[in-house]
């Protein structure tokens, strides 16, 4: 199956779940070429346990610093969600300390949600830190990105939903990720948004995703690659979009799933806007837009000469 190209009708993609920290710069190139304009990177674990809060600080700083610059080199806006992930919520070396430093990150401009929070092994500690971070999301007016277990999926989904409902957070501020054919039947009528990770072998495949969309529609549905350091494909979203078109979905339907829905969900609380995300992620707009192009030094010794460069 070919990837989306510039001749494809799929010209704008918001990838709502990609762990670019674990990906090489070539992936940014390929994603940009396939039409990805925005990447959202949820804070997560790093493959092996961290042993101090300082490593979380450095990791969080990367998500709001270097990764944004790296993505911008390819014309991609980089956003993120911040959280203590469910797996490391079980680790007393870091769990409390990370909760203490989270609030200041939740006010950063590129942080558009709290996540990935939720359950992994479904322990008591995981639930406690899940609830605490939902409270932070409410306090900071941010939506949730909920990681649901990869084992005991249905039971995990239902328990996550129970916890979310009991918190009082509006359901339309909640994205339940890593869904499948069974979980979509649980969440469809709850008002939450549903994410599906097109991730080889362990999660979802493009063909199955198309069938889910055919059966349940495109309202409040998102797809992502969840690409990380495992065997995963950062082009899962454009590939699935192409498969949707081949499967009879209209361009508007595809645009809704790969652009409109993630924009609507993550931009709703005002940290970003569709207008901002459609514009190039340049740093100094006077370099690009026509409003003030005459940036010349006054020192005659270094005055720019028209036509130079």
């Amino acid at each position: 199956m070919s990837t989306a190209t510039r001749s494809s009708p799929v010209t704008r993609i918001f990838e709502p779940h990609a762990h670019m920290f674990s990906r090489v710069t070539d992936d940014y190139q390929r994603m940009a070429a396939a039409g990805v304009k925005v990447i959202l990177e949820p804070a997560f674990w790093l493959g092996q346990p961290r042993t101090s809060v300082g490593t979380f600080i450095d990791y969080f700083d990367t998500l709001v610093g270097w990764e944004r610059f790296r993505a911008a080199q390819f014309g991609i806006h980089h956003l993120c969600t911040m959280a203590l992930n469910p797996r490391e919520a079980n680790d007393d070396r870091v769990n409390g300390g990370v909760l203490e430093i989270l609030p200041r990150y939740l006010e950063k401009n590129s942080v558009v949600g709290v996540g990935e929070i939720g359950l992994d092994d479904m322990t008591e500690k995981e639930e406690r830190f899940f609830e605490a971070q939902i409270a932070l999301a409410i306090e900071h007016d941010l939506p949730l990105l909920v990681h649901t277990p990869h084992r005991n999926k249905v039971r995990g989904f239902m328990r996550c939903l129970e916890i979310v409902k009991s918190s009082g957070i509006p359901m339309d501020r909640v994205l339940m990720d890593h869904g499948n054919e069974e979980t979509v039947r649980i969440t469809r009528d709850t008002g939450v948004w549903q994410g599906f990770s097109i991730y080889p072998f362990t999660k979802m495949e493009p063909g199955r995703m198309v069938e889910i969309l055919k059966e349940h529609g495109t309202e409040r549905m998102m797809i992502n690659s969840a690409c990380d350091w495992g065997v995963s494909d950062p082009l899962s979203v454009p590939k699935t979009a192409e498969m949707m078109l081949a499967g009879g979905f209209s361009e508007d339907d595809v645009d809704r799933v790969v652009w409109g829905n993630p924009v609507a969900f993550f931009a709703r609380m005002g940290r970003t806007s569709e207008e901002e995300l459609l514009a190039p992620p340049v740093a100094d707009r006077t370099e690009t837009f026509g409003g003030n192009t005459v940036l010349r030094g006054q020192d005659p010794g270094f005055e720019d000469i028209p036509g130079d460069r």
Partner: protein
């Protein structure tokens, strides 16, 4: 805003520099007064979305505290940050607090803090922050810390300043943005830039266009022959820069080369530069 932090606002052009955002800034200032600098530590990022990234000023050389800034590069959120950071330091944090704030900041916060440095009383920590900006691979942060004001020229030691100029060349940013460069250029800088020029030429890669005019500020062996050679370069931009350098050097031997070139030069910009050279 009460207190001497009115000095930041008074330095900005216009009677009401923040225009219709003045009310927003006043409100933020009020929260700072009520809740203290700890509030700003969390809410500094919000200045970007509350004040915006517009760059409304047109002054290329705006006098500030002890130097000048290119106000055209200043965003509303940068100027607002200068106002609030100045007030926070007055409230008792002192300048070292800025270093901690910087270390905890995202790219936008760091940029705002760096753009604030020419406006606020933080010279004791400014070189540290400029060095941090230099070390980053994020070009936007480098520009915010080292370009568009003469504060680096005023405060950095020789080694740090030369490295900043070399990095500017490496990133292909213009020398015109190194305000105060003419005061800090020295023979060692010229040697570094000539070596960099040779390295690029050997790799058949573009040369920083401002190399020779900068070297002409403090010429060393090799500058005059390079200028003469570039007067005959195939690319207009190279000849223009060579002409600019020649005007600065005013070397008698070079004067003969200029006369030779004028006999065949067709580019009007180069001709004008060469004809104006004494």
């Amino acid at each position: 805003m009460t207190g001497e932090s009115g000095r930041v606002i008074s330095a900005l052009p216009g009677g009401r520099p923040f225009g219709d955002r003045s009310g927003v800034l006043d409100e933020l200032g009020q929260r700072l007064e009520e809740r203290g600098p700890g509030w700003l530590e969390v809410h500094l990022p919000s200045l970007v979305r509350r004040l915006g990234r517009d760059q409304p000023w047109t002054q290329a050389r705006l006098p500030v505290r002890q130097g000048v800034v290119d106000a055209r590069r200043l965003r509303l959120c940068d100027a607002a940050a200068a106002v609030l950071l100045d007030r926070a330091m007055e409230l008792g944090t002192g300048a070292p607090w800025l270093v901690q704030l910087y270390s905890r900041g995202d790219a936008e916060e760091r940029r705002m803090i760096l753009r604030s440095l020419p406006f606020v009383e933080a010279d004791e920590v400014a070189p540290v922050l400029m060095e941090e900006a230099h070390r980053t691979n994020d070009q936007v942060i480098f520009e915010a810390g080292l370009l568009d004001s003469d504060l680096p020229a005023l405060l950095l030691d020789g080694d740090a300043y030369r490295r900043a100029v070399l990095r500017t060349a490496f990133l292909d940013l213009r020398a015109a943005r190194l305000l105060g460069l003419e005061r800090r250029a020295d023979p060692e800088l010229s040697r570094m830039l000539l070596e960099f020029m040779s390295e690029r030429e050997a790799a058949d890669r573009p040369v920083w266009p401002d190399t020779l005019p900068v070297c002409a500020l403090a010429p060393v062996a090799g500058v005059v022959p390079k200028v003469a050679g570039d007067l005959w370069h195939g690319r207009d931009v190279r000849r223009r820069q060579a002409a600019r350098a020649a005007a600065r050097l005013q070397d008698p031997w070079l004067a003969d080369r200029i006369r030779e070139r004028l006999e065949v030069e067709r580019d009007p910009v180069v001709r004008e530069l060469l004809e104006a050279t004494p």
